[in-house]
Symmetry: C2
Subunit: 249 residues, 2 copies
């Protein structure tokens, strides 16, 4: 969802700023002033301004009363909320695919994901390559599901959601170390759910597909919860964790 041509200052500044935010460079509540940012990113205030406006629409920063922006603080509740909405929307996508019948090519791509996941997961112990392969497959799987459903509004909504830290499918797995036995158990469960989901879609079982996709995100929610509990250990691996306060009202 970039704004202009990839060579422009705008997009460069936007990408860099978003990257810095997601790497936890700014503390929650910290003011993001234009001039320091423009010096740091070696651009004028104009593209910085536009990038800040974009980031506000993405929900990563929020406007201050007197003008300007500050880094947003995410509560654990908000992250959980976003994951829950993702479950409902991906559930809808799965249901639509099952009800309408998925195109042959899409089913082939999903099958390829399943096989790649099998290879990574069906081992006594997964190494880092297996882990990376699984993560790449997982992203592709969810992307295929959403894009394949064909509902443009749903695609847009999920793209927005995925901009939130830890809400995206891609952000939920890497919290557990690949060597962690419990983490591997969760990944195996998640992959069994992938299999079941593709089976449901193939057989046109809309309600089952929806329920499976919805349940699937519960793993993500548990991962976030456990990451928040061990926030001290995670700080190095997941710097964006500092954006999330553990307060759950």
């Amino acid at each position: 969802m970039q704004t202009q041509s990839p060579q422009s200052q705008q997009s460069r500044v936007l990408v860099q700023l978003r990257d810095m935010i997601l790497k936890g460079v700014f503390a929650p509540g910290e003011r993001l002033a234009e001039i320091p940012l423009s010096e740091r990113l070696e651009a004028s205030r104009t593209p910085v301004r536009l990038a800040l406006a974009t980031l506000q629409h993405e929900g990563l920063i929020e406007p201050l009363a007197g003008g300007g922006y500050q880094m947003r603080r995410f509560t654990a509740q908000e992250v959980s909320d976003a994951i829950e909405v993702r479950g409902v929307l991906e559930g809808m996508a799965a249901r639509l695919l099952a009800e309408r019948g998925a195109p042959r090519q899409l089913m082939r791509d999903l099958q390829a994901c399943l096989e790649q996941g099998d290879e990574a997961v069906d081992k006594p112990t997964m190494d880092l390559d297996d882990y990376a392969s699984y993560q790449e497959m997982n992203n592709r799987f969810h992307e295929l599901l959403v894009q394949g459903c064909g509902n443009s509004a749903l695609i847009r909504s999920l793209e927005t959601l995925n901009g939130q830290p830890f809400a995206a499918a891609s952000a939920t797995l890497p919290m557990q170390s690949a060597r962690d036995e419990e983490g591997q158990r969760w990944m195996r469960l998640a992959h069994r759910q992938h299999h079941a989901l593709v089976d449901a879609i193939t057989r046109g079982q809309g309600a089952r597909a929806q329920a499976l996709a919805q349940e699937h995100v519960e793993i993500a929610r548990m991962n976030v919860d456990s990451a928040l509990e061990h926030a001290d250990k995670m700080a190095g691996l997941m710097p964006a964790m500092r954006l999330v306060s553990a307060n759950r009202p």
Copy 2:
């Protein structure tokens, strides 16, 4: 979802531009150049630029390859998609309320909506005041439902959706003239659904509440379809209709 203080040029230009777009001032595909707009709105290019960026994020205009923006064209399919997603999300909101139990005050407010709707609808023939009252109530009802569910991500997603023409709850009713008998029948059905929905929430029936809210938007979809069929008659009342092309793939 305005960006800055209400007195600024930015917000004024943004509101005016959004209003013009939704009033159908620009034809689909028409280029929105900065200089003519800034002259027309009596502001410099800077606030116009920022407003255009905002409108792009809202999905009302789209960027052109060489820079700049053009008016977006909506297909009937996209409108239908957006309404379907709204149904799923409002269904989720209703389910959450039913499952978690809604606060006393919220239930009182919803009851007030029901009574106001009863007064407007339980008549042999509705006049324009009844119609206006119902429309205001309808907006409030849906707003209460969504805001009341307490899921921040869901609220955000629905706010985005409601920015799309004809996707919002507020945009679906006025297509039928108040004097139209068939239109009144649909409004009575819709209001019966409101009653059933509140009943389901009160009794903690999550699945029923969700199904009712989801079914509820089917009326909106039918209204849009019928408006598209009679596009010629609607052109005067609903100028934004020209943004929607009837192509349904």
